[in-house]
Symmetry: C2
Subunit: 155 residues, 2 copies
DNA sequence: GCAATAGCATACTATTCTGCTAGGCAAAGT
DNA sequence: ACTTTGCCTAGCAGAATAGTATGCTATTGC
């Protein structure tokens, strides 16, 4: 249960692009600018932005005046979309999809737990869009999770 | 968002022990038996069971009639407890606790998303006990996630 | 046309993590 | 004694993670 640097960087880059998009959807932002604004290693970020472009979420142009821009509506793209592009499926049990694992005997019902885990992840990550995060207005269901007293305490 | 072999094996071993516990709480189960019943590499399992013993969830005895048994009430121990013993905290952002990550500018509210993700994982994993999984009666909230039509479809 | 700029593409690398295996030691029963 | 079963340390191959290096290509301004 671990969010990789790659996904974290990718989402932050998309947020930076979404921020520019709100001002002018056609404005291009240089990779170097995103990297320094979000403290991300520039060359590493380049590869991440390439993946996002190949997935159709980002567009780019080369040369002087070149850069990246969002190629999607920030209120339509979810955090889950970005993670899937960069790191693959949201949840897996040592490489196998939750619904595909096969258990015997006493562990028969363990698969249901993994499917429920994935469903709960989807609940948060597929509901929350780039725009939600940018303006800080998370979906009601997500917000409800945060407002619980123990959400911020470590176990 | 990945469940390791280690946690998966550990939980299945605990389920096997819970199953014996229901018959007789003092009965000892040999490591070799658990390994073959759950198709887990025996020597790998040994290390996992040692971690669980050091955490106080399992007890053991050596020698001819030796083996392992649960040292806790299966209706008190949750899946989250086992994962924390074997793989550490439920959720982290490239090694940092969700509530500890620091974001600038456009990503300011991303932290809230990660805290919500952790909260939703806790919702499933801290609510579901070994006994729940053993008898296949998952908590109502968890069951509700499974009953949704798209819970079993892949994205 | 030419240089400067900024993204594109491939390859390489260092470190850590994962998923195991080997081998000997220590205790418990017969 | 001897067998059984767990205890413990070490090692190890392969994959994943988190980058870096280097050269190429498209675009613009002069």
């Amino acid at each position: 249960m671990h969010i990789s640097s790659k996904s974290d960087y990718g989402i932050r880059a998309m947020l930076e692009l979404a921020s520019a998009y709100e001002v002018d959807p056609d404005e291009l932002v240089r990779g170097e600018y995103i990297a320094s604004a979000q403290s991300i290693p520039a060359k590493f970020l380049e590869g991440i932005l390439r993946q996002l472009r190949l997935a159709g979420l980002v567009a780019s142009r080369r040369g002087v005046e070149g850069g990246y821009r969002l190629d999607c509506d920030p209120s339509k793209v979810t955090i889950a979309d970005i993670i899937r592009v960069l790191d693959g499926p949201l949840a897996d049990v040592h490489g196998i999809r939750p619904e595909d694992v096969v258990y015997e005997g006493a562990s028969e019902h363990l698969r249901d737990v993994w499917v429920a885990v994935r469903a709960s992840l989807r609940d948060v990550l597929e509901r929350t869009t780039l725009r939600d995060v940018l303006i800080g207005k998370l979906p009601r269901e997500t917000r409800r999770l945060l407002d619980r007293p123990d959400a911020w305490t470590r176990r």
